[in-house]
C-alpha cells in the first residue's frame, strides 16, 4: 500500500470513528449514487471491516424484525440490458442495449476489452450462458430476469430465474472458507451482517468471468463488498464495490436498482437451459444454430424423455 493511500485510509478511518458523522456521510453519498469507499480502502476486506466497525459488529435480526424483501423483483437497467453500470449510457460503438463500461482497467484488460468490443461490433460474440453455464457473480446482479430475495436470520438467498442461480449470503457469523481450502465458484463465497436494515456482504473465491455481454472481463482475484437495502416499497438498491488488482486499477463502484414486479399469480419457474440448447460457437467467432435435420441437432421433444413417453405430452 502506498504511503499516500495509507495516510488517506488513516484519515478516513479516523473520520469513521466519529460515528455521528459516518452515517450521514454515507447516506448522502448513497443518495447521489456514489460510494464513500472510492479510493479509500486497499482491499474489499478492509472496506467490509470498516462497515462492520461502524455498525459495532452489526445487529442480529430475528424472524420478527427481519427486513421485508418479499416479492418478485427485476433489474431496472434503463434499457441497457448488456450493461454493468447502467448510469454510463449506451456504448456508442455497439449501440442498442450495450452499456458503456466505467471500469478503470489495467492495460492488459483494457486491450482485451477493446478487442471484445471490436469483435461484437463485427458480429462475433459468444456468451458462456450459451453453454448453459451460469451468469455467476457479480454478473448475476446485472441480468434482466426475475429474482427474489429470501431473508432469514442466518442466511439471505438471492435467487435468479435464469438457470436457477441461487446465491447464499451467510449472516450467522461464520468466516470465509479458508484460502487453502476454497474452490473458485461461480457465485463465490458470501458472508455478511446487518447494519440496521442494510445487508452488508463480502464475497470472494469467485471464478473469472465477464461483467455482462459486451462488458470487460475480471480475474480470479476479484472480490466485492455490497450494501443492499430496500429504499422504498418497490425498490431494492445494491451498492457494490468491486476490487480486482489484476484487472482494475481502482475499485469499481456501481449501483443496481431492482423494481418490484406486480402481476397476479406471478411465479418463477424452473429454467432447464439444456433442454433445447442448439447453439454453438463457430470457428469464425460467431454464434450459430444447429437446426433440425443436422445429426447434431438435439430434439427437445425427445431429449431426456423416456422413449415410452415421447409424444404423450398434454
Amino acid at each position: 500500500m502506498s504511503r499516500t493511500l495509507r495516510h488517506r485510509r488513516s484519515l478516513a478511518l479516523a473520520t469513521l470513528s466519529a460515528l455521528a458523522l459516518w452515517p450521514t456521510h454515507f447516506t448522502t453519498a448513497a443518495a447521489a449514487g456514489a460510494n464513500t469507499a472510492e479510493q479509500t480502502f486497499a482491499s474489499s476486506w478492509e472496506e467490509y471491516q470498516a462497515y462492520r466497525a461502524r455498525a459495532h459488529g452489526g445487529v442480529k435480526h430475528t424472524v420478527r424484525d427481519l427486513p421485508d424483501w418479499t416479492g418478485i423483483w427485476q433489474r431496472d437497467s434503463n434499457g441497457l440490458l448488456a450493461s454493468f453500470d447502467d448510469s454510463a449510457g449506451v456504448n456508442p460503438q455497439l449501440g442498442r442495449v450495450y452499456g458503456r463500461s466505467t471500469a478503470s482497467l489495467t492495460p492488459k484488460y483494457q486491450a482485451a476489452y477493446e478487442a471484445k468490443v471490436a469483435n461484437v461490433s463485427a458480429g462475433k460474440e459468444w456468451d458462456r450462458l450459451s453453454d448453459c453455464l451460469p451468469a455467476g457473480f457479480p454478473r448475476m446482479l446485472a441480468e434482466p430476469f426475475l429474482r427474489e430475495f429470501i431473508v432469514t436470520p442466518a442466511e439471505t438467498w438471492m435467487s435468479h430465474e435464469q438457470i436457477n442461480e441461487t446465491r447464499r449470503i451467510y449472516t450467522d457469523g461464520r468466516a470465509h472458507v479458508a484460502d487453502d481450502e476454497a474452490v473458485p465458484l461461480w457465485l463465490g463465497d458470501s458472508i455478511g451482517f446487518w447494519d440496521g436494515d442494510t445487508l452488508v456482504v463480502h464475497t470472494n473465491h469467485l471464478k473469472a468471468g465477464e461483467y455482462q455481454r459486451g462488458q470487460p472481463d475480471f480475474s480470479y482475484q476479484i472480490s466485492t463488498v455490497e450494501r443492499i437495502r430496500k429504499v422504498d416499497a418497490d425498490t431494492i438498491e445494491d451498492h457494490i464495490s468491486v476490487y480486482d488488482p489484476v484487472s482494475l486499477t481502482r475499485p469499481w463502484h456501481v449501483v443496481f436498482h431492482y423494481k418490484r414486479v406486480e402481476q397476479p399469480g406471478l411465479r418463477i419457474n424452473y429454467d432447464a437451459c439444456e433442454e433445447n440448447n442448439n447453439v454453438y460457437l463457430a470457428p469464425d467467432g460467431t454464434t450459430r444454430y444447429i437446426l433440425p435435420g443436422d445429426p447434431k441437432y438435439r430434439d427437445p421433444t425427445t431429449f431426456g424423455i423416456p422413449p415410452i413417453a415421447v409424444g404423450s405430452e398434454k
Binding site: 458480429g123 450459451s130 430465474e161 402481476q263 433445447n276 460467431t286 444454430y289 433440425p292 427437445p300
Partner: protein
C-alpha cells in the same frame, strides 16, 4: 372487426410487457447473429411449436415450391407467458405469416418478432427477442 380485436389484443400485450419491463429479449446467446431491424416475411404451415427453455421455437414449412423448413426462435416460455402468449396459439398445421430477423449466415432460421394467423389475428413476440442477447 377482427382487425380491431387484434389491435386491442396487441395493445394489451404491449401494455403488459411494458409494465413488466419485458421489452428486451431475455436470452442466453448473442443477438449479433441476426439481421436486426430487417423485417423478413415467411409464409407457411406450422410444423411444431417447442414450448421449451431456454427458448421457444416455431418450426414452419414454407409455402410454395421451396418447402423449406424454417426454425424461428422466440423467448423462454416464462417470459412469453408473462406477456400473454399461449402455447395453444400455435397449433400444428395452421397457416401463418411469420415476421422475423433472419440469420446473417443464410441458414433457414431467425428471430421471430410477430406471427399473423390465417384469421388475421396477430401475435406480437417482438418485445421478446428483438433487442438484446
Amino acid at each position: 372487426m377482427q382487425r380491431c380485436y387484434s389491435v386491442r389484443i396487441r395493445a394489451a400485450l404491449a401494455a403488459t410487457a411494458l409494465a413488466l419491463g419485458l421489452t428486451p429479449a431475455h436470452a442466453h446467446h448473442s443477438a449479433t447473429m441476426f439481421d436486426i431491424g430487417h423485417d423478413t416475411v415467411i409464409e407457411g404451415t406450422i410444423k411444431d411449436f417447442q414450448w421449451t427453455n431456454p427458448h421457444s421455437w416455431l418450426l414452419v414449412q414454407e409455402s410454395g415450391a421451396s418447402g423449406r423448413l424454417w426454425s424461428f426462435e422466440s423467448g423462454p416460455p416464462n417470459i412469453l407467458a408473462r406477456i400473454g402468449v399461449k402455447r395453444s396459439q400455435f397449433p400444428t398445421g395452421e397457416k401463418v405469416t411469420v415476421h422475423a430477423f433472419l440469420m446473417k449466415d443464410g441458414t433457414p432460421a431467425g428471430l421471430v418478432t410477430r406471427v399473423v394467423k390465417a384469421d388475421g389475428t396477430e401475435i406480437s413476440l417482438g418485445s421478446v427477442g428483438s433487442e438484446k442477447h
